[in-house]
Amino acid sequence: MQHEVKKIALIVNELLTMLLFNGAEDVEIKVKKQGQSTEIVVVQHRNNNDDQFVERLRNSLNNMREYEVEGYYWQLIGEDDNGDELNLVGIMVDEACVERKGDDLYIRLLRTCS
């Protein structure tokens, strides 16, 4: 797929912007490429967001993969100061897991190259 590396970087950018915008102070990011798949794990330590925030995040990221939307609009990710393009991130990943693990907010995204 075209611009694959750039797309992964923008997804990370968007998630980080959103977390910092919502008060995160300690964020750990891990990106692991394996063949056609890329796993992005973002952990916000000392997460102080409520359950509603986690539920909203889960819903935004668990959109169905939509290649036609991604093919056109992917360059918009990271263009807004508010980190408001999570729905766009949602249509660019195949799997999204959002959960609390103790005090941490754990986000795991899996993207497979078409």
Partner: protein, 425 residues
């Protein structure tokens, strides 16, 4: 990041697709029936359809005037069927952007787009995907919108500037080239206005159109806008629009019985690209929103004494389509008021088709009102009105989404200016 717990009946992808299919089907049957009732024949429909296909289609060429109402309806139906086939063939989810693209293409089949001039662009998009080794699915939306430049193909083919055979070869090659480059270009252009101009392809097409028209002008070939507009057949057009908009409302209520009660949820969204209402508030509220925007557009045109001709119908259908992808009453209203106020201030006739088009299409800037409030939305509308009356000459009328071009310029100037006044928290 918004989340609404909306409960609705699932009619499935095929259910929504069938609902969309009824629109071109109605146009087809009404077109044929209307012609026969009025003493026409298959031959007269064919003659009208041929006239549409062979017209240069430069802005503003109303197909209702060129080929008659029956041939125009059939053109709309055929263009609609092709797009529904592609949506079905590539198993696309019927989301907000697909609904917006479908209604936009359908609307512009009343003026500008026909079977002959859209196919080379689709083929160019297909070649691009083969070249890049990606699925055609990834560029369908861009290509659907990208048919904004289809008049370029008709203009080169049928305006008599070249020998007919050479003209057709050059035109089709140009169309394929447009289809090939429109996907990377339009995606790149999004950054210019940060997604605040909903008709991004209009902006992209304006840039490409300016380039192509300049090339033609360099060879001494003049591309001048025309003004071929119909003011007939109002009764049948109004009845059909009312049927479509009531149909959308009933469909929305069948999917979500609480659609009216929950409608306020859609008004919280800014509308900036991408705001897919089908995902955010569900199909029920989305169809209701499309229906309400349709009724408002129709009543506005009738209230000011305007005529429902090809260009105005394109405006109405586009507003309805983007009711699934960013537009709602709250963010459209200030921009439209700004355009009307500017038109009155500068002494334009607000019932003229070009001004009605400006009012309807100005809602491309709805995300500005949704983000920065009604006053800034009003200002965006005023600027749009001032600009849109001047940018048509630059591309010689080959960009059907002229308002998208103007909207892109307004947004790209206004957003950084507003940013300059914003204070960091």
């Amino acid at each position: 990041m918004e989340y609404n717990d909306i409960k609705e009946n699932d009619i499935g992808r095929m259910g929504v697709l069938m609902a969309l299919l009824t629109i071109p089907a109605i146009f087809l049957f009404v077109g044929i029936g209307y012609e026969i009732i009025n003493g026409g024949s298959v031959a007269s429909i064919f003659k009208g359809f041929t006239a549409i296909v062979l017209s240069p289609t430069i802005l503003i060429t109303d197909f209702i005037k060129v080929g008659g109402i029956a041939a125009t309806f059939i053109n709309v139906a055929l263009v609609g069927f092709i797009n529904i086939y592609l949506i079905h063939r590539y198993r696309l989810k019927i989301n907000g952007v697909i609904l917006a693209a479908f209604f936009t293409v359908l609307g512009f089949s009343f003026f500008g787009k026909n079977l002959y001039n859209i196919l080379p662009i689709y083929f160019g998009g297909y070649l691009y995907t083969k070249y890049q080794k990606i699925s055609f699915k990834e560029v369908i939306v861009v290509v659907m919108f990208g048919t904004a430049l289809s008049p370029m193909i008709s203009e080169i083919s049928f305006s008599g500037i070249l020998h007919p055979i050479i003209a057709i070869i050059v035109a089709i090659t140009t169309g394929i080239f447009i289809g090939f480059v429109i996907a990377p270009l339009s995606s790149h252009m999004l950054k210019f206005h940060d997604g605040y101009n909903l008709y991004n392809i209009g902006f992209t097409s304006g840039i490409i159109g300016t380039l192509l028209t300049s090339v033609l002008r360099s060879f001494g070939l003049v591309v001048e806008p025309v003004n071929i507009i119909s003011d007939e057949n109002q009764g049948i057009i109004i009845i059909l629009l009312l049927i479509f908009f009531f149909g959308l409302m009933i469909l929305g209520l069948c999917i979500n019985r609480r659609a009216f009660r929950d409608y306020h949820t859609i008004l919280h969204y800014r509308g900036r690209l991408i705001t897919d209402f089908t995902h955010l508030v569900g199909y029920g509220i989305t169809f209701l929103n499309m229906s309400l925007l349709g009724f408002l557009s129709l009543f506005y045109v009738l209230a000011i004494g305007g005529k429902l001709n090809g260009p105005v119908l394109a405006g109405v259908f586009t507003v309805v389509g983007f009711g699934a992808f960013g537009k709602h009453i709250k963010n459209c209203f200030p921009v439209a008021i700004g355009v009307i106020a500017a038109a009155l201030f500068f002494g334009y006739d607000i019932s003229a088709p070009s001004i009605i088009m400006s009012v309807l299409f100005s809602t491309t800037l709805a995300p500005i009102a949704g983000t920065f409030g009604p006053l800034i939305g009003f200002l965006a509308g005023v600027l749009h009105m001032i600009l849109v009356t001047n940018v048509g000459y630059i591309h010689g009328g080959i960009n059907l989404y002229n308002n998208g071009f103007s909207g892109g310029i307004v947004a790209s100037v206004l957003i950084p200016m507003l940013d300059a006044f914003k204070k960091e928290n």
